[in-house]
């Protein structure tokens, strides 16, 4: 119900606010909402906190732009391909890391991120430390537009698809298995849950979704480099959005992004001009305050009122 209202509101939005600045904020918020929702499959439902999701975002983005630049493959194919490459990497990375739990899994994903960053910086075919740019063009085939409006609709469609995918997964058997593993892995195994396979499934699907959004991100920004894509800060932003909204809930990450991204962008515009970094300071304060006063996410606001 709420989701339906949100979809209608988002569909009307570009007509009500033609200003590209607002549209850009909504696109960014949709992207982070989707990234948070994808992360949530592993971090929320499976309960393995990954700080390495920027790897999948970066891999998807790099795959898309490399295919476009070096093989002239359209992003229509490149973006899904990025998702597949990200899923393949998750398959490799997941084998050693998913055995770990708690802090160890989190640390291992940070390590994976650091290794990926170094490799990308030293990979000259992919532009090394300077990264690669998308060509400047205005072509439907290449998904490159001068106007921001088409990107709005792509992000909108992708976000609806991401939401539907996570909803379907969580409501189906995998979702129940993930929550069972999260609750007590040994007990879930004893009851016959093939834990290895389902942990891997969550990780791979989450990576695939993140990779697809990485492809969109690279095309949308028109540029990708190791420092912006393979950064711990980006990973933490994704986690933050999910936690702020409510970990392990379907709507939570979207809610978190809807609040956090306009706030961050607004502060950046209002204060960023001073070059003093007040925006990041307020961002930090906001994180601390939210953790202190809403430790289970925005989503609990509604529950509290219902309880009272």
């Amino acid at each position: 119900m709420i989701a339906a209202i949100a979809v209608v509101a988002l569909a009307i939005f570009p007509f009500a606010f033609p200003d590209p600045f607002y549209q850009q904020i909504v696109v960014t918020a949709l992207m982070y909402g989707a990234l948070g929702a994808a992360w949530n499959l592993v971090g929320g439902f499976l309960g393995r906190v990954s700080f390495g999701h920027a790897v999948f975002l970066g891999v998807g983005g790099y795959a898309t732009l490399l295919l476009l630049r070096h093989a002239n493959v359209t992003p229509w194919i490149g973006i899904p391909a990025g998702g597949i490459v990200a899923a393949a990497i998750a398959l490799v990375v997941g084998r050693p890391t998913l055995r770990l739990t708690g802090h160890y899994f989190a640390m291992a994903t940070i390590a994976v991120l650091a290794v990926a960053h170094v490799l990308m910086v030293n990979w000259s075919f992919a532009g090394g430390a300077t990264g690669i740019e998308a060509p400047i063009a205005d072509s439907f085939r290449l998904l490159l537009f001068r106007s921001r409006v088409p990107y709005y609709w792509i992000a909108f469609a992708l976000a609806v698809a991401t939401f539907a995918a996570t909803l379907a997964l969580v409501r189906a058997k995998p979702g129940y298995y993930w929550r069972a593993i999260n609750g007590d892995e040994a007990a879930a195994r004893a009851l016959g849950v093939p834990a290895e396979r389902y942990k891997m499934l969550a990780f791979v699907l989450s990576a695939a979704l993140t990779g697809i959004w990485g492809g969109f991100y690279a095309i949308y920004v028109g540029f990708i480099d190791p420092d912006s894509a393979f950064s711990l800060t980006l990973s933490i932003q994704i986690v933050l959005v999910a936690i702020l909204g409510g970990v392990g809930t379907i709507v939570g990450p979207w809610l978190g992004a809807a609040l956090l991204i306009p706030l961050a962008e607004g502060m950046r515009v209002a204060m960023g001009g001073s070059g003093k970094g007040f925006d990041l300071l307020l961002y930090g304060v906001a994180i601390v305050l939210v953790s202190l006063f809403l430790p289970r996410g925005l989503i609990t606001l509604r529950w509290r009122r219902a309880a009272a």
């Binding site: 050693p96 770990l100 160890y104 640390m107 290794v115 170094v118 990041l280 300071l281 601390v288």
Partner: protein, 283 residues
Amino acid sequence: MLEALSTGLFNGLVYAAVAVGLALIWGITDVINFAHGDFLMLAMYVAYWLFTLGHVDPTLSAPIAACALALVGFLAYALIIRPLSRAPAMIVILATFGLGLVLRQLAFIAFSPDYRNLPDTWLSGSIRLGGISLGRPQVATGLVALAMIIVLFVLVYRTRWGHALQAVAEDRQAASLVGIACDRVNAQVWMLGSAAVGVTGALLTSFFYVFPSVGAVFVLLAFVAVAMGGFGSLPGAFLSGILIGVVESLTGYWFEPAYKTASIFVIFLLVLWYRPRGLFGRW
């Protein structure tokens, strides 16, 4: 080769010194302090300003920085960590990340992003040891770090107070049943761990630049050292810190300096593959 090895050894001692504070806090209160690197940064600024404004050498300001950081650690525990003691672990991590961001940005606003260094400290210069030339500040910092680690080790593993710490780490409820004030112990651990990073930070200013995000240079390696050494194991963190320093400098010597960090993280992942709870982790 020998020179690379000894440089690595002393760098490793510095990493170990940053890591022990983290290991202590992580091991006993079960919190990964993402602000640990920013605590280090604060300590470095304390030493920097004491030298620049008061001409106090970093060697002397180390105890002052330790006290200042113990206060910071206490405040962090009392204002953020303790209220979150019932919250999910992820939230606590995030809160410390937020705290780190706040500290970093405050330093950025107050002190500007400039790289600063101390020109002439008592420790400046280099020494020659059997044909190997080593920076004196590095050696002194390494030795102090070693001494500090030994003191911490004795405190935690050999004193009555240390046994109380371990009891809290083992089982909080059981510890409070036998009359240990868990809350007080946790606060003391935060103060002690932060004081340790305070000493390290002050000494570090004698040979390393001070800037608002300096913590990031050390803290990731410190995290790796702690995780690789095994959850909350002080000797583990110490040995892995040294291992990291040596691996780093040997990679730079044999291959390319660009692969220094990658080799450390690859080794870390290998360790986790064979020992999912770290080298010295409790099973």
